[in-house]
Amino acid sequence: MQRTKPDFWLILLSFILVGYGLVMVFSTSYYKGILDYQNAYYFFNKQLIFAGIGLVLFFIFSNIPYHWYRKHVGKFLLVSLLMLLFVLMFADETNGARRWIKIGSFTFQPSEFVKIVLILYTASIMVKKQEVLHNFKKTILPPLTVITIFCGLLVIQPHYSATIIIFTTCMIIIFCGGAKLRQLFLLVSAGIPVLVGVLFLDQYRINRVMALFDPFSDPQNHGYQVIYSLYAIGPGGITGVGLGKSIQKMAYLPEAHTDFIFSIIAEELGFIGAGTLIILFAIYVIRGVRISLRARDLFGTLLGIGIVSLFAIQVVFNLGVVTALLPVTGVPLPFISYGGSSLMFQLVATGILLNISRYQAVRNKPAVKADEK
């Protein structure tokens, strides 16, 4: 296939977001670094290393033709399945969940890998099913079974936020792949009760949901993270209190450098800084959708929209939580939050998206017509 120039805006955007994230990780974590490790740069240094590795991966993956993955989807699936089983069987429990594989001092979340693999798989299988779209059994049932198995393994960990993110992303790919609306609707209406059931299985998740509706009613327990998040966002005002000058990060707001990093951004940089970040995210979505639309084939389109959806869903989840619109779940903010696996896989995914942008459909109309023939 003819390779063209990669999407310049996506590269620029990725660099800006990584830079933005590094600055804010330092700002939000130096205090915790001093308190816990007597080193203000503790978190920043680690994040810097991951960003470096991530950027290398970004360029490597942007040079791997995306069709290559299609051939190996089965192997990827197998590897991720083994990883999940390994985690369930051998990993130590941390905070009541088994999500991490430890290799030396390096920890790795298989769920990040699974996210991309399942996008690849769903995109690939939906391309195959284009001829039998009207047949529910043939089109939707097989990928659904695979997705459900993986989601089930994630629920056992438990890692509900990843489950919901993966499931939703795959559903979007199936939707964009042209599945019949009636079938999708049936599927969704069957899925919602299951979701609600899982959500309310544990008292702690009910409490989180209740705390969402009125965080101030229970300020000591479940509401307090959300309240403290609002206490950070609110005082930010239009211009913020200034970079590095957040008070809420002074051990008030837990996870200030990870899941709640956006609250501190809003506090330090104000509406201007935080709003800009949302706009940057929006630009990523716009570029991503544009690349997907212009992809040379359906696999590229579905893979692209899957990557964009994964990104957008995580952004929405994270921002929803910190602005008290969604119950507290631990979803990191893509590119920004502290966390190696998350940042690296975000860059890998963006690398794949960038690669898709190198195989754009020919723009002029005659070519399209020719293609249709």
Partner: protein, 638 residues
């Protein structure tokens, strides 16, 4: 294939539109939180960041007029926890709970509280030294035993209604502790600074120190010794007569300074939690409202003298009743006092005589004087919970009401009103504002910060009329119905009073009286006025027998304590104290026992049998016996 391609693009656009919409919604949410809720959240956040380390001020002490301490602070330890420093919250809570003697679940919330310093109220406040040492011995991280202070009342229930009490945070809750809480409490100081969640000071935060201002010492007008005399007499009265309650007030008539005031039932300020709130909430001397009875005649007398409506040497004939507006108002003595001077009318407390005085004054004048003497309005004493009393409305006051008001029925007043009014009648005519606070003293330097000066509300009668009232009342004690209050050499003046109590339905209660006496001494230069009321004394007694001797005791002991020189020019008592005169026995046969209790004889009586009417008596009527001989009455129902 074309349709499929279009389908894919369409669906991509749908997803794209939804994603953009959600992102815009989040932007909107962000602007709402930051720009609209911003200042509200900032305020709340600043509260969270701000830290005040309090420096409690010392509560001022309360002293009597001579500087004796009657309420002060003693140190008593309190437990505080710093939750951030406690790793093992459950363990700490249960260990504390064990020593404090409460279930662990009660302590756990304090330990878990997200707050810098948490006081364990009330379980860990003001605990014993032993418990404090035990807790300190555990060496639990994050548990601090801090110095705290507790209000201490060394004389227990003495003057408890005046002093009141304080709550767990040493805040005044009743009595003077409440009335003067602000001055006593002072203002607590604090260091305030912005802190991180671990309570450490933030580099950029504003901090400032506000030093505490200790409360001022309050010096009272109360004299500890006179108060003790009163408390002693009240206890004796309770033991002897088992009344529902007893009230006593001693006041300096010239200044309105309360020298002593108490009532029964009483309570201990340090045990208010286990006391019926009705007991400490009702400060009877200023709250209880009832018919004064004959003590009110002093007001009628003073008014009549001031208006020159009577000459005490003038003659008056009492047939035993007086007809007013078609009604026959009886004198307390059946058969009447016969021919007497108006001075004897006062001495004998003769009702028809006082009705005559009331009629001579007329409705307007009598009511005006009652108002002038402060009835129907608060006296303004510096205590909470004072009542106003109830007077007839002028429009509803007919001749009968005028007549009964003249001898103290049909009006309802408080004890403090009577004391202040009588003080005005005998101190030269000035209606004073009664008060308890005398001085505010800086507890450190001992310097007087401010002094309460006696306040004259108004002048009601002239000094020479006041002198005439004094001498008439001295004569009541020396020769008349107040005989039992006589203290040799101190020229006691006074007046008995007995009133039937009014029940909840507005009618008079049977067999239920308030007997009272108001006395003062010495009559030439009054130093003290003492009022005492006994509510429903058990056993059947003449009113004058119960209250007058108690007031005599209080006045006698107070005069000796105050080192008031004995007078030689007193009105000689009617009879020689050493030899009781021989008098004819009054006739009680056929009289209602209820009425007998209302009368003002000074003879002791004893009753035999049950019933309402006297069927027989020993000694027989008219038999000449020594004055003060016990009369035994046989009761029946006829």
């Amino acid at each position: 294939m074309k349709s499929l391609l279009v389908l894919h693009k369409k669906r991509l656009f749908i997803i794209f539109a939804i994603a953009l919409f959600v992102l815009i919604a989040l932007l909107g949410r962000l602007s709402f939180v930051q720009l609209i809720q911003g200042s509200w959240l900032t305020g709340k956040a600043e509260n969270l960041w701000g830290r005040d380390i309090p420096f409690a001020s010392k509560r001022g002490r309360i002293l009597d007029r001579n500087g004796e301490l009657i309420a002060y602070n003693i140190s008593s330890p309190s437990v505080m926890v710093v939750p951030a420093q406690i790793k093992d919250k459950e363990g700490t809570a249960y260990k504390l709970a064990k020593i404090l003697g409460v279930p662990g679940e009660k302590i756990l919330p304090f330990v878990k509280k997200k707050q810098l310093i948490v006081r364990i109220t009330p379980y860990g406040r003001k605990i014993s030294e032993a418990k404090a040492e035990e807790i300190q011995g555990l060496q639990l991280p994050g548990v601090v035993v801090a110095e705290d202070s507790k209000r201490y009342y060394p004389y227990q229930s003495l003057a408890s209604h005046i002093l009141g009490f304080t709550g767990i945070d040493n805040q005044g809750l009743a009595g003077l502790e409440l009335e003067y809480n602000k001055q006593l409490q002072g203002t607590s100081g604090y260091i305030s600074f912005s802190a991180n969640a671990r309570g450490e000071k933030l580099p950029g935060g504003v901090d400032h120190f506000t030093p505490p201002k200790d409360g001022l010492d309050l010096r009272l007008t109360i004299d500890l010794n006179i108060q003790k005399i009163i408390e002693r007499e009240l206890d004796q009265t309770m033991a002897q007569y088992q009344p529902e309650n007893v009230i006593a007030i001693a006041m300096d008539p010239k200044t309105g300074e309360i020298l002593g005031m108490s009532s029964r039932p009483t309570y201990r300020p340090d045990q208010y939690k286990t006391t019926d709130p009705l007991i400490y909430n009702r400060n009877l001397p200023i709250w209880k409202t009832y018919e004064p009875g004959s003590t009110f005649k002093i007001i009628t007398l003073a008014a009549a003298l001031q208006e020159k409506k009577v000459n005490l040497n003038q003659g008056f004939f009492d047939p035993g009743f007086i007809a007013v507006g078609g009604a026959r108002l009886r004198c307390w003595k059946s058969g009447g006092h016969g021919s007497q001077t108006f001075l004897e009318v006062v001495e004998n407390s003769c009702n028809p005589g006082f009705v005559t005085l009331g009629q001579r004054l007329g409705k307007e004048k009598l009511l005006s004087y009652i108002n002038q003497f402060g009835f129907g309005q608060k006296t303004g004493i510096d205590l909470n919970g004072e009542a106003k009393g109830i007077l007839f409305k002028p429009s509803r006051m007919g001749p009968v009401e005028l007549a009964t008001t003249a001898f103290g029925q049909g009006v309802a007043v408080t004890p403090i009103q009577q004391v202040v009014a009588v003080a005005a009648a005998i101190n030269g005519g000035k209606l004073m504002v009664p008060h308890l606070a005398k001085q505010w003293v800086n507890s450190e330097s001992g310097k007087v910060v401010s002094t309460v000066t006696p306040t004259v509300k108004r002048e009601v009668i002239t000094p020479n009329i006041s002198a005439a009232v004094r001498s008439a009342l001295e004569s009541v004690v020396a020769r008349g119905s107040g005989r039992k209050a006589f203290v040799d050499g101190y020229r006691v003046g006074g007046k008995t009073g007995t009133a039937q109590k009014v029940g909840p339905n507005g009618t008079y209660l049977k067999n239920n009286h308030i007997v009272s006496f108001i006395g003062f001494a010495p009559a030439d230069d009054p130093k003290v006025v003492v009022y005492l009321a006994v509510d429903n004394p058990k056993g059947i007694q003449f009113g004058g027998v119960v209250a007058a001797p108690i007031v005599g005791n209080i006045i006698g002991d107070s005069m000796r304590y105050m080192k008031v020189p004995k007078r030689t020019n007193q009105i000689p008592p009617e009879e020689n104290i050493l030899y009781d005169p021989i008098v004819p026995t009054p006739n009680f046969i056929g009289q209602d026992i209820d009425k007998i209790k209302n009368s003002l004889y000074t003879t002791p009586i004893e009753t035999v049998g049950k019933g309402k009417v006297v069927v027989s008596q020993i000694p027989r009527p008219g038999e000449r016996v020594k004055k003060g001989t016990l009369i035994r009455m046989y009761l029946g129902d006829k």
